[in-house]
Symmetry: C2
Subunit: 364 residues, 2 copies
DNA sequence: CGGGGACGGGACAGCGTTTCCCCGTCCCGC
DNA sequence: GCGGGACGGGGAAACGCTGTCCCGTCCCCG
């Protein structure tokens, strides 16, 4: 009943374990053709499937990539995850998926698990508020992981270790706000992500900065989660605000630093009978495909999600195995790491996509 | 700089490997308190993280769950994946994610990989067209996997092995069609999933059956993929059809057997200036959250996605460990086994959700 | 015809854990 | 005071595979 092992195949083929191993895996040594065929035939007949765990143990390389996202159901993360998974899988590796729901403790646990699984690399998507106590644990884990040869890629925010792919959040948001002002918007509301999520912070920060430069102050700042539900809440707050605020013909333009939130808001606003972009304009951030099909289509910052994901995977799969050149104790403070791959951070820019959700009414 | 191993901890704590192992993992034997503390202190100080691969090898249980979906960026799968991941993670296991893009060969490769990783269970979401040649490979793999004690759960369609969670596709679609007819729809278009995807087939089949019973024949049958892009294509075909068809005031009601496709169609129809539900009505299948926030909101069959996912995980994690005899505070309780092993298939029903996308115009 | 390489294959020592089994101790009851 | 449990701890054999080293052949060349 136990699964068929390599030794079974070897025995069946009448060869040694070593030979069987050489045949069935891309070993440096190429076995004789006749033998190879015999082994392969046996393997096929027996339905041999290698034990990746054992292989990993022996090779000390697992072929596993850890992917950490906040919420896989958020199209932003899903889009990235899709690309990452495809690329990784194409390279004969596997993706170990973890969701943190933006819980710092969950993230610690997730990282522990992933590291325990001996992932070759970690891709952390989305920003994290490093700085408090639990974060020390995270930093320690990541540092230890990197020290042991693990690759780390932070996507959306630096994680203090490894490489980073980061959008110019503030700049893009700034640009967006400017564009909206040019469009004619004067009344603004912004979202303060719950608990100071850094990327949300810099997005809103950049947005507000642009407003300030234009002499405008957001008339409303709302605290809500960067989720669909957060978007619902946002819509509720907006309605409340509209009721109390002085009647004003000009639409209130609200900036949600995540598309999924903006999309949720769109839905909830409509449910509440508030027209978009007539009474309220909505802008998001991210550029998920869903925003192109919504009604109204969503104004947003389009991030090159695919490219970002691909870059991450590229880094992650780069020279998959590299033995260490332990040189002993060198004198002087010279950096021992010679092959310094230099590029440790890539900035990507997002493009302002003005769409219907912020169109200034033609005022028929 | 190799990672710190259990032996390092043991040495540091001045105990044997066996003892260290017993302390750091829920072993049946509880070591002495003093020793335990010493070991734990060492582990913490050294930053020990167990090697899950080695543990898996020794225990012959990996704590890994393989999740196979067609497309993680499809909200249907993403919603399920989200729930599965959460539940699994809460049980100290990990999710190994794979996407097949509905490629049968990719699926074979995916299953091989997952099995190679020694996953404890496989959850296959979405339907697959078992029946052709490659499918033999899949069946063989799954059967072998199950024979070796692996659990298999098919979600959306039976995979021939293990347990299944299957929506009453045909019945639900039948009900939906009936409801739409009651609403007043008379003109219909349906989607034939590309390459005969079974669940799409039974959905469309049920839908058409209901039409037939009502003496209606769909005036259009379109072949397109069950994706967002497929939805775009669908919209294009519809426009073409509308142009050629005789002018008719009644809207054409199109049934897309997947929400994501319906949502894509919604977007593309609008881009083409076709009003929904004025000129074309759209119904989907699945009940993804996005359909509630779209404009118009999407008529669909709401599947209990969360429950389905939870059921799958429940089966998958069922008596995962037989040790754990640690007689703690809680005794009695559940020691049942095998009893409900009988249940091998669960049917879930979907609820017809008539929303705006199929509303029959109030006609001024 | 002999020597040296090249080559194909096999034995075996790990890889990091778990776990079975054994062995001292200590405690208890008789 | 002695035998027997119970208990806490250690030794060592797996788990399935890789990779290094080693050995026997065979071929080619001098």
């Amino acid at each position: 009943m136990p699964a068929v092992r390599l030794s079974d195949v070897a025995q069946d083929a009448g060869v040694s374990l070593a030979t069987a191993s050489r045949v069935l895996n891309g070993s440096a040594r190429v076995p004789g053709k006749a033998v190879a065929e015999k082994v392969e035939a046996s393997a096929a007949r027996l339905g041999y499937v290698p034990n990746a765990q054992a292989q990993a143990l022996a090779r000390s390389r697992s072929g596993l990539i850890g992917l950490v996202v906040h919420d896989i159901a958020d199209p932003y993360f899903a889009t990235i995850a899709r690309e990452v998974q495809q690329q990784v899988f194409a390279s004969q590796s596997q993706v170990l998926l973890t969701q943190t729901d933006r819980e710092i403790d969950t993230e610690v646990r997730a990282l522990r698990s992933l590291i325990a699984q001996q992932v070759d690399a970690l891709v952390l998507v989305g920003s994290h508020r490093y700085g408090n106590d639990s974060d020390a644990a995270i930093s320690t884990l990541l540092e230890g992981f990197a020290r042991n040869g693990g690759k780390v890629v932070g996507m959306g925010q630096s994680v203090g270790v490894g490489r980073t792919i980061v959008p110019d959040n503030a700049a893009a948001a700034h640009e967006l706000a400017t564009a909206l002002i040019v469009e004619g918007h004067r009344r603004f509301a912004v979202v303060q992500g719950i608990a100071g999520i850094p990327s949300a912070g810099s997005r809103t920060g950049g947005f507000v900065a642009a407003l300030t430069e234009a002499g405008i102050e957001p008339e409303l700042s709302i605290e809500a989660g960067l989720t669909r539900d957060g978007g619902y809440e946002l819509a509720e707050r907006i309605e409340e605000h509209l009721e109390t605020a002085a009647a004003d013909d000009a639409p209130l333009c609200v900036f949600a630093p995540a598309d999924v939130m903006a999309l949720g808001a769109l839905g909830e606003l409509r449910r509440r009978g508030i027209s978009v972009p007539g009474q309220v304009a909505v802008a998001g951030f991210g550029g998920v495909p869903d925003g192109a099909d919504s009604h109204p289509t969503l104004t947003t910052i389009a991030l090159p999600l695919h490219d970002m994901a691909r870059q991450a995977v590229e880094w992650v799969l780069e020279h998959p195995v590299q033995d260490e050149q332990g040189g002993g104790d060198e004198q002087g403070g010279q950096h021992e790491n010679a092959a310094d791959d230099a590029i440790t951070e890539v900035h990507v820019r997002g493009d302002v996509l003005l769409r219907e959700s912020t169109a200034v009414a033609a005022k028929a």
